[in-house]
Amino acid sequence: MRFRRPAHLKDAPRLTYRLWDFTGTALLNLFMFIFLVAYLSPLPFMVIASLTSPTQFHDANAPILPSERVKFNYEGKDLIVYEVPTADGVRHWALYKPSRQSSQFIDPASPEAGPITWDGQWRSLKAVYRFKPTLDNFKEFLSITKLPLLFTNTLLVALISEIGVLLSSIAVAYGFARFRIPGIKYIFFLLIATIMIPTNITLVPTYYLYSRHVLDWIGTWLPLIVPHFFGSAILIFLLRQNFKSIPRDLDEAALLDGAGPLRILISVILPQSIPVVTTVALLHFFYIWNETRLSSLYLSISPNLQMVSFGIQRSQTFFFTPEMLMVGALMVMIIPVIVLFLSQRFFMQDMIVTQIEK
């Protein structure tokens, strides 16, 4: 909605009006900026923590940014530098001989002066830190998880199920969008209803179906892949909404040219639906990437088949320190986030447009 000059400023001088307008714009953008900073604030901490060495978390006085303790080499030994309060202000001295009541320090600026005795408890002193990010956490993370295997598995399952879900969902959506079938209204209502059916109502029987008593699919990818070959209700819904918005004139022209239904789908409908098909493919990719529900049922016993989200979550028992948790978080989310940013131009647009159609 275009901005209008408000009634009480109608006769105000141009400068007052400009000022009013500018303040409003500035306040609104400032509000959005502050909101975004607060909303996304855990993410910078995730990056900071993943670059921080574990020892820094043991020191309550350590800075927030990834840092290392400043050390001073004296007589071949690395001494830790502390902030020492003295009569002449706070000095950065290296701890030479710690003891309970009074300790000996070396002044790094003039080491030749020899040890200085300072009275007080050295444990209450703050260590001096210097900014230094480390990649050690990532190395350790790679050594305790099978990240390359988990990534490969995820991509394989995503690829295979993607083919299935796209083929069937496109076909079904085309059926819903273009054919006059008696009672299609009720079939479509069923489709909408299945979107809302909670997964756990079908969980027990399907679990029994896949168990060794019937199909014996537990410990394979089949329970995660095969159902997608029957299409996915929400994706069919999104595709169908889009197919319906394509004018029928083109189909009819193709029909007169002797094209069959399949030919019309491939050469008339699909070329005009590339954005929505991509959106749907991405939604499915995110679904597979984030999958943990079915994996926990069917892949718990086969660590070599697990996918990234489930696999990393399961190995959480091996790392519970903040920096390792944050490395894990970063590793699991980095690819979906990159994919979203690469595709944002039409992905977000399409989500909006397809929804309004409803």
């Binding site: 909605m1 959005m32 299609i184 299945t194 997964t199 027990v204």
Partner: protein, 307 residues
């Protein structure tokens, strides 16, 4: 067919038309076949099977000794405090998180309609981004941030440290507003400008315009978002599924059903629990749809696609 073929010229045209119709329906059904088959095999039959399981004492380890026990499993549910706690926990989750999600998404969408806002696309992507982050990452970020939150917020303000997972639910809810926000923002953009102009001429201020025009006009979007969130609270997923947290199920009843199924291996009782949840959830959905007639504005009713 026989009667038709006897009828001369007139009947020659009509069957052709009818055949074409029939042919169209057949081809259409062929296209629908994958989903119809999947619906029967993976939805309808399992739901029925769950109903049958629920009146037996079916156990995973000894399927051959299964016998009919009537409503025993359902009676057991009424006596089982853990199951009630799970069900109430899921309802609590819905009641606590959904209003938060809805209000934040609605306010953001309203701000986004302003032409004064700069960098809309980037802000929009950043807000949406949090909704695709896998639950594994969210869980880890939450655990890892506790240290920082304690150091930067709780200790300086002299607040007691965070206990358990109390803040995980609102955190997760706030980071799930993406789809709802996009849906409501999209709906707001499609409201016709003339209505606002007319209201403006009549002297309606921005707040009055928001309450009396924007809210009623986007009520279908609000309704759809509500349905998405309701489904999410009971362990379903509509648009984006980020998976779930194994050690801390966000839908407590779902966690309890899984436990009954795996640790106890009591498929009969687990099915009864699933059916109870299903009934509660469907009742809520039907109530929601019933109420929709009162507050949701449907512009045209000739299409099948309005739900």
């Amino acid at each position: 067919m026989d009667i038709v073929s006897q009828g001369g010229l007139w009947s020659k045209i009509k069957p052709a038309k009818r055949n074409r119709r029939q042919q169209e329906a057949t081809i259409g059904l062929l296209f629908l076949a994958p989903w119809l088959l999947g619906f029967i095999l993976l939805k309808a039959l399992p739901i029925l099977a769950a109903l049958i399981f629920s009146v037996t004492d079916f156990k995973m380890l000894s399927p051959e000794t299964t016998k009919f026990v009537g409503l025993e499993n359902y009676l057991r549910f009424f006596r089982d405090p853990a199951a009630w706690a799970g069900l109430l926990g899921s309802l609590r989750y819905f009641v606590l998180t959904v209003p938060l999600e809805m209000v934040v998404a609605l306010v953001l969408a309203a701000i986004f309609t302003s032409e004064r806002l700069k960098n809309k696309r980037l802000s929009q992507t950043l807000i949406f981004m949090t909704s695709i982050i896998p639950s594994t990452s969210i869980f880890f970020i939450f655990l890892g941030s506790l240290e920082y939150a304690d150091r930067l917020i709780f200790r300086p303000l002299n607040l007691p440290p965070i206990e358990g997972f109390d803040l995980l639910l609102p955190f997760m809810a706030l980071w799930s507003i993406g789809p709802g926000f996009l849906i409501m923002y999209g709906a707001m953009q499609s409201v016709s400008k003339e209505i606002y102009e007319a209201a403006h001429v009549d002297g309606a201020g921005p707040i009055a315009r928001f309450i009396f025009i924007t809210l009623p006009m986007i009520s279908p979007a609000i309704f759809f978002t509500l349905v998405i969130n309701l489904t999410g609270a009971f362990g379903g997923a509509v648009l984006l599924d980020r998976g779930y947290i194994l050690s801390f199920s966000l839908s407590p009843i779902e966690g309890y059903i899984n436990e009954t199924m795996f640790i106890e291996a009591e498929l009969g009782y687990a099915s009864a629990l699933a059916w109870v949840t299903f009934t509660v959830m469907m009742t809520l959905t039907i109530l929601l749809f019933r109420s929709a007639k009162r507050w949701v504005y449907f512009p045209e009713e000739d299409e099948v696609n309005e739900i």
